[in-house]
């Protein structure tokens, strides 16, 4: 009888406390582990973004007044051909440069910003300069795409003299009455805030 009382009053409550403590301990260890992991991954992600941002700023600070090939032939969506110099004669234009060789998700990620610029600055001040392998691809891209402003197709090799082309990434530049690429901006789809800041700055200073 005494033995049963002892079991009832001491051993089983102790066992219960032990189990509860074990459960708490396991839960604590697990949450700590995933928390540490989340922190380390978060740090890696942040440092990668910082690295990307730094490289972008360093790269872009070196890019100014890149001369474009004046007599390069471009084609609009109706197949009408122009010299590149005709597009940039007097008007200040923000150009979004894309190619079918670039990451198309990166290309598409910037189209909403291009639309914002077009809406705010007017269609004649915004332009898409594309390089599609065939005119058919260019036409279909423009027909079904989300961008309805001026667009021209140019042969990839006609811009190969610009060092930035070797990076194979989409970029923005400003052409201010000269056939030069100025104020080059290389967006990154991972950092939409950067593109938004660029848009705001372009609209503010236009």
């Amino acid at each position: 009888m005494k033995k049963t009382n002892l079991l009832n009053k001491i051993l089983f409550p102790a066992l219960l406390i032990f189990f509860l403590a074990s459960v708490y301990f396991i839960v604590y260890i697990r949450s700590k582990k995933s928390g540490d992991h989340a922190l380390s991954l978060g740090t890696i992600s942040l440092s990668a973004k910082n690295e990307l941002l730094t490289s972008q700023v360093l790269l872009q600070s070196r890019i100014c007044s890149l001369p474009l090939k004046r007599n390069a032939i471009v084609e609009d969506t109706n197949g009408v051909k122009y010299h590149l110099s005709e597009l940039f004669d007097t008007t200040k234009v923000i150009v979004y440069r894309i190619s079918d060789l670039y990451c198309m998700e990166c290309v598409k990620s910037q189209l909403p910003y291009l639309k914002t610029l077009s809406d705010r600055l007017g269609k004649k001040h915004v332009m898409l300069l594309a390089s599609f392998e065939t005119f058919k691809e260019f036409k279909i891209f423009m027909q079904t795409g989300e961008f309805d402003a001026r667009a021209y197709n140019i042969q990839q090799q006609d811009l190969s003299n610009i060092p930035i082309e070797a990076l194979n990434v989409p970029y923005f530049f400003e052409a201010n009455g000269t056939v030069n690429a100025d104020y080059v901006f290389i967006p990154a789809k991972e950092i939409p805030d950067l593109s938004k800041a660029y848009c705001d700055e372009v609209i503010r200073s236009f």
């Binding site: 089983f12 066992l15 189990f19 459960v23 598409k108 065939t134 058919k136 691809e137 891209f141 079904t144």
Partner: protein, 415 residues
């Protein structure tokens, strides 16, 4: 009585404690893999010849049972660029994710049936990330990663269902069978867990049951974007970036094992030079140097395997006979004399396969211009008109520059 009560509570707690530690692991267990570096006896070894650069593939000699399917051209079904082709029971599904933003459905003869487009589809599809074919019930899955859903269509492009996939994103999907999908590169909003794996397996709603391949550090520069999940009938292959193993995912036992190993000429492949500590700039240097690379694409038809091998900007295909281990491939050529009849022209290596045929694509926008140039030279140099097989002649003589691509379906002769 009191003792019995305590015993019950203690037992219940014990069981609860044990299950709380194991249930989660059972649900999302990692699939058993062969130990790293081991090459089991049944791994097929595909030996890339040292003289691949000098080899040539005479497609008029090697292709057989060729048939052409001209995809119908209408204003509402213009294909910009083919990213993926699925051969379904009664036709073809063609994905153009980036130029026309559409998935096109054609019947066996190439007649346009329907399309799912970002613009004007009547549904709230926000992106076309990938497609997969469920051969068990002849339905097509379209994965919308921005809208976080998998849309289900029948093989005629008729909408059937939408499955929300909450809080988890993938880069590619493939159908494994038994209502299971293979997802490449899962990403969850919260860190850890499935984020650390390259593959996971689950149902169409994204309920994950298995995971595999611990993910290496993100390269973050498009280098980890993987195109190497290929579905071949009921087989699904997967190859990790810069790996010489092509893994086959067996749906029956849900095991992943290296089905094929590529052996490159000594010291001539990117893969053999890549280590765990290779940095991204080093990778870029390796890729731009004179090294062979392999992106993991694999097709299989009637015991003939096809894979693409890359070197700088040069793309070459390799066919491998599983019967005798022979290789055919290299630069594409056609060695026909004036009196011979061409069965194929403007051939390019396959990008898809059906159950018993390889599928290549002919692009009219390129071909028509080449034909015009060739015609001018032919007339100037008084070269006779080439003989073409009847169906090829019909295709070529009616081809216009704005036409949709032509699918070429064929087998490879024994070699």
């Amino acid at each position: 009585m009191k003792l019995g009560k305590w015993k019950s509570i203690a037992s219940a707690l014990f069981i609860l404690c044990v299950f709380s530690c194991t249930t989660n692991e059972l649900d999302k267990k990692a699939i058993e893999l062969f130990p790293k570096g081991e090459s089991p006896d049944y791994t097929t070894v595909l030996k890339i010849p040292a003289d691949l650069d000098t080899l040539s593939f005479d497609y008029n000699q090697m292709l057989t049972d060729i048939r052409y399917v001209k995809l119908e051209t209408k204003n509402n079904c213009l294909i910009g660029n083919i990213n993926k082709i699925l051969a379904t029971r009664n036709g073809f599904v063609v994905a153009d994710y980036y130029i026309s933003n559409s998935i096109f459905f054609f019947d066996k003869t190439g007649r346009f049936i329907n399309k799912v487009a970002l613009k004007g589809s009547g549904r709230s599809i926000k992106s076309l990330k990938d497609i997969a074919y469920n051969y068990d019930n002849n339905t097509v899955y379209i994965y919308d990663n921005i809208g976080s859903a998998i849309y289900c269509y029948d093989e005629n492009g008729t909408y059937l269902n939408r499955y929300p996939v909450k809080n988890i994103y993938f880069r590619r999907i493939a159908y494994l069978g038994d209502s299971l999908l293979l997802f490449y590169h899962p990403s969850l909003k919260e860190r850890g867990g499935l984020n650390n794996y390259e593959l996971c397996i689950g149902d169409v709603s994204g309920n994950i049951k298995y995971k595999a391949f611990e993910r290496k550090q993100e390269s973050g520069d498009g280098f980890d974007y993987n195109f190497s999940i290929t579905t071949e009938g009921s087989d699904v292959y997967y190859s990790r970036r810069f790996s010489k193993y092509i893994y086959k995912i067996a749906k029956d036992s849900l095991a992943i094992f290296p089905g094929i190993r590529l052996d490159f000429p000594e010291n001539k492949s990117v893969i053999d030079k890549v280590t765990e500590s290779t940095t991204l700039p080093e990778l870029k240097l390796l890729l731009s140097a004179d090294n062979y690379n392999f992106d993991g694409e694999i097709l299989s038809v009637n015991n003939v395997l096809y894979t693409g091998i890359y070197k700088k900007s040069m793309n070459m295909g390799v066919f491998y006979s599983e019967k005798n281990g022979r290789i055919a491939g290299g630069h594409l050529v056609s060695r026909l004399s004036i009196n011979d009849t061409a069965n194929a022209e403007y051939y390019s290596y396959p990008i898809a396969s059906s159950n018993n045929e390889f599928i290549s694509v002919m692009n009219p926008d390129v071909i028509v211009k080449s034909e015009q140039n060739f015609e001018r030279s032919r007339k100037a140099m008084h070269i006779p008109v080439p003989h073409r097989e009847r169906q090829l002649d019909a295709i070529m003589s009616t081809m216009r520059v704005d036409d949709n691509p032509v699918l070429v379906l064929y087998k490879i002769k024994p070699f």
